[in-house]
Symmetry: D2
Subunit: 179 residues, 4 copies
């Protein structure tokens, strides 16, 4: 059960090839909800990126991205957390491989309530505590931390699209912190 990721090197697709695949099968995604926790394991803050969403808007959103051919889910989680939160975030990848929920993104916004105009993606969603310093890197304009109350407030919900506001509520419910 080796975890080296060398086998994934050949998995980068050309934009054209990816476009074609997207019309044929659902893609495997991971969603990571970054959180700050206290020493008792209580979630105290939720981290939300400000970046261009799949629908073109500038939105608040969680860490999200594709699992590559040959890549373990855990490797994809670490890779996307590092890509979006920076190399010093120190994400604590959960020991349990089971996601807290499965998010089904469809081109049709009414199909599941989760929407991605580009494709059908089945995303494994995890809550990921991060202890280190987060510096939004690639493509993200900003990363801000919100209390559970703030994260579900109308002001923050209005900044999210594609169902990410609902994903935040599901994540907070999972950790027992939904207000």
């Amino acid at each position: 059960m080796s975890d080296q990721t060398t086998a994934t090197d050949t998995s980068w697709l050309s934009p054209e090839a990816l476009e074609q695949v997207r019309a044929q099968v659902p893609l495997v995604y991971v969603d990571a909800v970054p959180v700050r926790v206290d020493p008792l394991g209580n979630v105290t803050k939720v981290g939300l990126l400000l970046r261009q969403a799949a629908d073109g808007t500038i939105s608040r959103m969680v860490v999200t991205g594709r699992v590559l051919f040959g890549e373990r889910v855990r490797d994809a989680l670490v890779r996307h957390c590092e890509k979006d939160l920076g190399p010093l975030a120190l994400p604590r990848i959960p020991v349990d491989p089971s996601p807290f929920t499965v998010v089904e993104y469809f081109p049709d916004p009414d199909r599941s309530g989760f929407h991605d105009p580009r494709h059908h993606a089945v995303s494994l969603a995890y809550v990921v505590p991060v202890d280190g310093e987060c510096t939004p890197t690639q493509q993200a304009l900003d990363l801000a931390w919100f209390t559970p109350e703030e994260a579900v407030s109308p002001a923050v919900r209005d900044q999210m699209t594609g169902g990410h506001d609902r994903l935040i509520r599901l994540a907070l419910a999972h950790v027992g912190q939904l207000p």
Copy 2:
């Protein structure tokens, strides 16, 4: 949030197209472990199909199959249970969308311990109680029910390939019935 599956009608790929996609991205799968339960919810029996496995052997295995483009995970679960267990099985699809584990099948048998020579698949695994009459249909030679003790015995484990014996142990642990 409609659940009609009409959008999936166009998702059947030609064998050639599927072959090409398989070399480029991980596929989304579902695995269903059919079980019999008593009125208290205790798992009393595990159902194992006898059929040709992905590696060509005739093996004992669980219900497994691909999620199609445009298809909800729940629809895929019902479709594959009906395909393998017959139309009268009455599967009780779990209310929780989160699988009890995520099984990563790789062409390389040493990558995760779960093996499929055809492709890389990320499979959402569920325990599915079935109340009705099961009549293995398409492609399956037989369906047999085993107690938890029998299901993890060397005699039955030796009839499974690709890691399905381990999947059975994970499923039984999840329901508290691993001997």
Copy 3:
């Protein structure tokens, strides 16, 4: 691993003895959120009892009750569902012994957000699909079924006390149906 419940016969405590124990240790409880599901496992309705709550008010609430000395958690779940929903409810006790959340009821309403003036109780909370006919029996004035949208509406939330409205939101999030 026998499941006969004969050993629990001696576990009924006099009101005085229970009163004394309540001041000394947390009690083990189970909470069951009764739901109706469609054939795909989607929760379509949530059942809420109308009865006298622990704080004396007439409130909407879920099935709840104590685990007795010598009693299995599954037996307690069935017993309380039958007591509150009637003998024909046909509850489907989950196969997974793990609750979807743990509810900590304290005499101090600010301690966890879940409140019971009588005692400190640690309650294992389950979502329980019921297929049969429900006839509220002992102590309950009424049982009504609400859609997920209705169940989290202000009108219904205002009829709940002790944190039961929050428990409903956590249950709906768990099954992916929190609006």
Copy 4:
């Protein structure tokens, strides 16, 4: 939702009072399986204490203990981890309040397969990654770390009583590392 534990100060019972309560209601317990993890969240080692078990034998076992009156489950988890692993263990208490399984210990060893001659306890079981240095303190003779393969080997299983060997297998299955 304050988490101060001052309210638990009065919850220490005299041995006589505890003895009396034990014969009347199930007690609330927590079990913590200490693990070492790699940066991807894979469990690499399981920690097992060597100490006098409830049945009087010197056995390998996990961290376990009672939840006090007025105490939050998270506080009890931290308290027992510190008591058994020392003040520098740095346990990462899970963000999800739901245990991976519920262990029902009975005086009758055949009732559930989990045995405690002293009482009926309902224990919430968690996998707890520990990053820091562990120095077994109170009552424990030793703490040793085992790979998943070693932890389920006959040699180690024979050193466990009361069902703790089975609990280890359930924990390893939960994290996808059951051999």
